[in-house]
Amino acid sequence: MKKITKILFGSIAALSLAVPAFAEKIVMEGSTTVLPIAQTAAEVYMQKNPSADISVRGGGSGVGIASIIDGNCDIANSSRPIKESELDKAVTNGKDIKAHVVAMDGIAVIVNSGNPVNALTKAQVKDIYTGKISNWNQLGGNNEKVVVISRDTSSGTFEAFGELALNKEKVRPDAIMQASNQAIATTVVRTPGAIGYVGLGFLSADIKAVSVDGIAPSRETVLSGKFPYSRPLFMYTNGEPKGLAKEVIDFIKSPEGQRLVEKDGFVGLK
């Protein structure tokens, strides 16, 4: 009896090791802006194809790109283009990084819904974030300290904002760092004097997006290029994508996938 039990357990163990090998598994990692797109696509795709296993993580564009260069993920989500230094590192590691644009996005500047200020100019946004303006009364608002909220350095949104809005100047040192788009949105909702920046997909009824140079952030203004802080959203793969990774990216780029992208609040590719 004992010997049979051992054989039984052994074969069950062996089988359980084999089963995961049949399901294909990929890991997507990186931008918290692209995260909702990746998550929705993964969910819908896995519903249609139960044998697929797609794992989606955040961490920021920088983290995702570092991860794919180290070979720790299959698709790196990024809300900014890959840097020269990262491309060099990829080559040294024997990785050939290919870019796929999956959606367009706008970076909306948001304030608390109780804030009377509705419009800012590009120059004002820059001055707020670089430290030259510190009180809302300098912008036509209340006599209140501007609580500047930003992202940490691993964020693609941070890098894109730095390039599009700040001309690569340094963000003021007393800016509060949050770890994701959602965290900025939540903090702005709770803090009357706050200003922050999030991807279009994170706008909600509780926060107010100000117009920049008279242009409000919306699907139309991002597509037409009128909104000054528009940017493409990327997914990077090592070499041309194959297997499940290829199917997921093709799915996102397909009409059905693009409908999901728009539903999440982003702008589809046209």
Partner: protein, 296 residues
């Protein structure tokens, strides 16, 4: 030689290896910290690194001044002391001197449970509940500041201080107290003038280890302290302690880059600070044991 003797020796060997393993890990960590952290000092002088005012590691040209980070750690830890010392030592005194067996049986486990709550839960609580509360109560521009972080760190460090202080108090021999009562001192006088001074070194150890815990705490300060890498002008401004800086930026610093090396250098400095604290605590506690005649 027989099999039994061989078994004995091999078991001794296994235990020895396991015991020395922690030494190996410690030495290994120190070596890696030095190896990865020293390169940044070829790019910037140690003095400029430690006392530099601006931390902008990803810009071009990058600035690697960690003084705001060190001050951030320092401020939240000292602030935490103001909470965990009275609470911790007070609880220890109550548990040791005044609580009945019944009360002790309930309270002591409760304090231990406070110690076992994961730090991320504390951090989440601080960010979601404590911070808006502080913001509204004190009319601050934002509740994520050194004050909130100190508050929650103080609560986290209290069980540490309480356990060690309580142990220290229980080591004071009964004969001390009995002698004091014999000469007519009241309970309060005995407590203040005999028991606490006798347990003094143990209590100092408790405080130092509590501070050590507060300085090393990462998740909580990452979520609650605000993250502004600036020299704070008041206790109610956001700060970025060293631990939070490392946690936030390590994920994307390219391996081998200046940023990477600078983060390791911060870790090295943090390691030294807690190392020194632990050595001081050890020295004090050793003197304490000798003083009480418990042999060194």
């Amino acid at each position: 030689m027989n099999v039994n003797k061989f078994k004995e020796r091999s078991i001794e060997w296994i235990f020895a290896v396991v015991a020395f393993a922690s030494l190996v890990f410690l030495v290994g960590i120190v070596i890696v910290l030095f190896k990865e952290g020293l390169p940044i000092l070829t790019k910037i002088r140690l003095f400029d690194f430690i006392f530099g005012e601006f931390w902008y590691p990803t810009y071009d040209p990058a600035e690697f001044g960690i003084f705001p980070l060190i001050l951030g750690s320092f401020i939240v830890s000292v602030g935490a002391m103001f909470i965990c010392v009275p609470l911790g030592i007070g609880s220890a005194l109550y548990l040791n001197e005044i609580a009945s067996q019944q009360q002790k049986a309930i309270l002591k486990p409760l304090v231990e449970i406070l110690a076992s709550v994961p730090s991320i839960v504390y951090g989440f609580f601080a960010m979601a509940v404590l911070s808006p509360f502080v913001q509204n109560l004190l009319h601050l521009p934002i509740g994520l500041c050194a004050f909130t972080a100190s508050l929650i760190l103080g609560i986290m460090a209290t069980p540490t201080v309480c356990s060690i202080a309580e142990d220290a108090l229980s080591y004071v021999p009964r004969s001390f107290r009995e002698a004091s009562f014999a000469v007519g001192a009241t309970r309060w006088q005995t407590l203040i003038k005999v028991v606490i001074p006798a347990a003094g070194s143990g209590i100092s150890t408790a405080i130092i280890l509590g501070m050590s815990r507060a300085i090393g705490e990462t998740m909580t300060v990452l979520m609650a302290a605000g993250g502004a890498a600036m020299i704070p002008r008041s206790f109610f401004e956001p700060v970025r302690p060293m631990t939070a800086a490392i946690a936030a930026e390590m994920g994307e610093a390219p391996v081998g880059s200046d940023h990477y090396s600078a983060l390791f250098a911060i870790a090295l400095i943090l390691f030294f600070i807690t190392f020194i604290f632990n050595i001081i605590a050890e020295i004090i506690s050793r003197r304490f044991r000798i003083k009480l005649g418990l042999a060194g």
